[in-house]
Every structure is written in structure tokens, then in C-alpha cells.
């Protein structure tokens, strides 16, 4: 899949200019993280990938096809979008029904739906909870219910808007596994996150947004080494990375092992 944005601009009906000319190409299956302060325009940006929002200027091309050629419902076969707030998405009585809903809408065969149900409920660790009412779930479980209901539709691109929000360590692990599995299946994951630790652990491609523009776009090590630009967008690298930067390490490190390796290298010199 290839998502291409050509000087994409978006002005909300209220007059807020949320995107000010974004040029961007995302392709392949390498998971992508989008970061940036509140109100930077991350959600607005990704809502253009399946046409929930339409460009007010510029262009969005999905595999070369203009986004305006199809409705969001039609794009939903190719591009899945998990909303930030689970309550915006969940509306049926059981998780099972939530899971079946999307696939039925796009006319997925019964057989395939069954297969997907087994696979997704396992992946999201909701196998025992399929017949529970969403109201009886914890926030984390609700979130995975919404994630699962999108994966059920088997799209080629899956967008997560702040999946880590309000989650514990176990939830993050589950999510990590989902991102990895989807990548292995050849899907493209695009994730918005404020959790820098989660970002550096799971994503090598990082995009930084600031005030409606893309500030940085590239390999995570590259991105997190540009301290000055990051400051501009009010993003701070994970604590261990900052310690290394303060200590004057040349390499950008993301975890203790990397840190110690660099540390030992310096001692030897």
C-alpha cells in the first residue's frame, strides 16, 4: 500500500486551519508512528487516509487513486481506522456482534468471518469475553474490542489513534504483539501515540507533526537525535535517550542495553 499526500491542507468549518500543506509518502509494511503535541493535527491527518475528512486543499492518493473517488465506506475495505475513544465506535450488545458488524457490511463471506473471529479474538485476548456486553468491559478491553473489530475487516492499512491511552503494561504488551503480527501479515500499521517509550520500542519509522505540518519524518534514531527540532514540537525523547544525549553520546539509544553498549564503548576509548 502506498499513501501519498500532496500539499494536503484542511480547514475545519469552524475556520480552524488544522493542516497547512503536508507532503508525505507512507508505503510498505514498516509500522509508522505519528507523534506531536496536542492539537498538532495528527488525528486530522490520519482521518484523511480513509476519507472521513476530505482535503480542503491538496490531494490524497491511496495506491495512486484519489481519495475523493470513493466514499469512506468503500475505502474501509482497504483502510481501517480505530477511533481514539472506544465509546464513539462501540454500539452493539456483544463483542461478537461488534466483531461481525464491519465484515458483514463489506460483504465478507461467512467462512472468512468465522476464521477471522477465531484469529482476532485470540490476538486481542478477548476469546472468553465474546458474549459480554461492552458495558461490562474495562477500558482496556473496550479498546481492544474496537481494535479487534477493525482487524476483523482485514484491511491492508490499519490506523490506530492513541491506542496506548490509559493502558497498563499488560495492555501495551498486547498491543505490541498486535502491531508485530500485523506487520508479519504484510499489513501497514499507522499509530498515533504520546507514549514515547512505546513508540521507540515498536516503530522504526517516526513522523513528527507540529502546528499542522510535518516537522520530521524518518528513522526513529534519526528523528530522536534532532533535539532542537523536537523541542519545537514539544516532544521529548524517552528518559534514557535524554540521559545519553546529556552525557554526550553520539549514538541515539532507546533502551538500557543500547545505553550500556555505548557507555562501555566510551570507557574503552
Amino acid at each position: 500500500m502506498r499513501i501519498e499526500l500532496i500539499s494536503l491542507g484542511h480547514v475545519y468549518p469552524t475556520g480552524d486551519e488544522a493542516l497547512k500543506g503536508v507532503d508525505l509518502v507512507i508505503e510498505g509494511t514498516e509500522p509508522v508512528a505519528i507523534i506531536g503535541q496536542n492539537g498538532a493535527g495528527k488525528t486530522t491527518l490520519v482521518k484523511h487516509f480513509n476519507g472521513i475528512l476530505r482535503p480542503t486543499s491538496g490531494q490524497v492518493l491511496i495506491n495512486g487513486e484519489d481519495i475523493n473517488n470513493r466514499s469512506t465506506a468503500q475505502w474501509s475495505r482497504d483502510v481501517g481506522y480505530v477511533f481514539q475513544n472506544p465509546d464513539d465506535q462501540i454500539f452493539l450488545e456483544t463483542i461478537r456482534k461488534e466483531f461481525e458488524f464491519g465484515p458483514k457490511q463489506i460483504g465478507m463471506p461467512e467462512e472468512k468471518i468465522k476464521e477471522q473471529m477465531d484469529f482476532v479474538s485470540e490476538l486481542c485476548l478477548l476469546k472468553d469475553k465474546l458474549d459480554l456486553h461492552p458495558f461490562d468491559l474495562t477500558l482496556t478491553e473496550k479498546k481492544f474490542c474496537t481494535i479487534g473489530s477493525i482487524i476483523m475487516m482485514d484491511p491492508k492499512v490499519i490506523i490506530f489513534d492513541e491506542p496506548t491511552c490509559g493502558q497498563d503494561v499488560e495492555g501495551n504488551k498486547r498491543l505490541k504483539n498486535i502491531v508485530k503480527t500485523l506487520q508479519d501479515m504484510g499489513k501497514l500499521c499507522i499509530t498515533i501515540s504520546h507514549d514515547m517509550k512505546f513508540v521507540v520500542e515498536n516503530f522504526r519509522h517516526v513522523i513528527v507533526m507540529c502546528k499542522g505540518k510535518v516537522l520530521l519524518d524518518g528513522d526513529s534514531k534519526e528523528v530522536f537525535s534532532q533535539v532542537d527540532k523536537l523541542k519545537q514540537s514539544f516532544v521529548s525523547p524517552p528518559p534514557i535517550t535524554r540521559v545519553a544525549q546529556k552525557a554526550g553520546f553520539k549514538e541515539t539509544v532507546f533502551n538500557i542495553d543500547e545505553f550500556m553498549r555505548e557507555f562501555d564503548n566510551r570507557k574503552e576509548k
Partner: protein, 263 residues
């Protein structure tokens, strides 16, 4: 991202500068007048007047939409019921064969519709030219219990809030393959299952908001509370209020005289 929790948008028109307290009066003054008046002309006149008012309050488009959107279907329905089956029908307007359209029924239907529209229209204009915070502040200032004030505020907020919620949920639906465009019947089918969750979540939201208010000392006793929103009650306000009351009284007198066949 949610901006104003209200249908109020500042438009700098004269209506906005009238005290909110006074703006409740037209609803009763105009509405009741339209109801008691023996024929439909007063109601029709008031509707025309409201359209003019809406125009000068820069609300013309939304106002027209609401009035027609509510008025046309309700008119058709009531004319159908009263026109064909009204018990007072004597003069036949048109003979459809099995049923006859009666003049008295049609007039009766129009009377009901015009009164309803006067209520609706006055309420719409008031609601859209008043910052609800100010309305409630002025109510409490004139002695209404703050809790009742909150109740008014909460109920006025519920509708725009539900609309917002509904549009977000609909977005989420399209992202799951639901086509929200298409025939009216299709859209209706898609819309109905969403109502439950929307209403339910608005109610829990309101309850939660009530609880947070409580924790911030809203219901506290034996303390004189101060107000954040200030309201002014001017001479113009007073004059307008008396004019509105006067209007109702004059209508009442004319009505009684007409009923007594004096005029």
C-alpha cells in the same frame, strides 16, 4: 475540540443584548396569544413577524429550515386527520369520493400548527440568541434555585451534545463500511440502532457532570454564592417585558370581546 456547548453563536445583534430573563416572556406572550385567539390570523401574523425577527437576528437560514422541516409534515398530518375526520366538518372543500375534505377541520389543523410554530419559532430565536450560561445566571439572580437553574442548563445542553455525539458515531460507522448516504429508508435503517447508545451516553454524561459539580461544592448550603456570569437588567428590558405582557393582555381582551360577539 468541542467548542461551545450551546447553539448560541455570537452575532452581535440587538436581540443578544436583551436580558435573557426577558426573552422567556415572548414564548408565553406570543405562544399563548396565538392559542387563545379565535382565528388563525394572529398566529400567522406572529409567524411572519418571527421570520422578520429571525432575519434581523441573522438566523434566517436555520430558522426557515426548522420551521419548514417541522411545519410541513405536521401540517400535512393534521390536515389529514382533522380535514378528513374532524367532527365539526360541515363545509366540504373537496370531495375525494370515500372521504371529504372539510373546511372546519382544515382551519382547526392550521390553528394548531400556527400556535405550535409560534412556540417553536420563539423558542428557537430565544435559544439561539441567548448564551445559556447567561440565561441561567439571570434566572438564579431573580431568585430561582441554582439547582433548578442547572437542570434547565443541562436539558438545554443535551440536544446539541447528542447531535455532536451522533455525528462522531456516524463517522465511526462509515469507517466500518456503513454507507451513510443513499435513500432515506437506508439512512433511517442505519440511524436507528445508534439512538440507544447516544441517548444513554448523554444521560450518563449529564449524571457524571452533576457529580463533579457536587464535588466542587455546587449544592453547598448556608453560603452566599457569587456568580461568574454577570447579568444586567436595563430599562429597555423592563419596557420590553411590559410590552410583551401588554400584548398578551390586549389579545386576551380582544379574544373575550370576539367570543362575546361584541366585535
Amino acid at each position: 475540540m468541542a467548542k461551545a456547548y450551546n447553539s448560541y453563536v455570537k452575532r452581535d445583534t440587538f436581540k443578544e443584548n436583551i436580558s435573557p430573563n426577558v426573552k422567556i416572556w415572548p414564548i408565553f406572550s406570543y405562544g399563548l396569544s396565538a392559542i387563545i385567539f379565535p382565528n388563525i390570523y394572529l398566529g400567522l401574523g406572529l409567524i411572519v413577524f418571527l421570520f422578520i425577527l429571525a432575519f434581523f437576528s441573522k438566523l434566517f437560514k436555520g430558522f426557515t429550515k426548522i420551521m419548514l422541516g417541522f411545519g410541513i409534515p405536521i401540517t400535512l398530518m393534521l390536515i389529514f386527520i382533522h380535514g378528513f375526520y374532524g367532527s365539526k366538518n360541515e363545509t366540504i372543500l373537496y370531495d375525494f369520493g370515500p372521504v371529504q375534505l372539510g373546511l372546519e377541520g382544515v382551519l382547526h389543523a392550521l390553528k394548531i400548527v400556527s400556535s405550535l410554530l409560534v412556540f417553536l419559532g420563539t423558542f428557537y430565536i430565544m435559544n439561539h440568541t441567548t448564551y445559556t450560561g447567561k440565561l441561567v445566571a439571570s434566572l438564579t439572580a431573580s431568585g430561582v434555585n441554582p439547582k433548578v437553574g442547572y437542570l434547565v442548563l443541562a436539558s438545554l445542553n443535551v440536544v446539541p451534545q447528542m447531535q455532536r455525539k451522533l455525528s462522531v458515531i456516524q463517522e465511526a460507522q462509515t469507517a466500518r463500511g456503513v454507507e451513510t448516504k443513499g435513500s432515506l429508508w437506508h439512512r433511517f435503517k442505519v440511524f436507528v440502532p445508534l439512538l440507544g447508545p447516544v441517548v444513554l451516553s448523554s444521560l450518563t454524561d449529564a449524571q457524571e457532570r452533576g457529580m463533579t459539580l457536587e464535588t466542587r461544592g455546587f449544592g453547598i448550603k448556608n453560603v452566599k454564592q457569587t456568580h461568574y456570569v454577570e447579568v444586567f437588567y436595563t430599562k429597555t428590558d423592563k419596557i420590553i417585558k411590559y410590552m410583551l405582557i401588554g400584548f398578551f393582555i390586549v389579545t386576551l381582551i380582544i379574544t373575550i370581546l370576539m367570543r362575546l360577539s361584541v366585535i
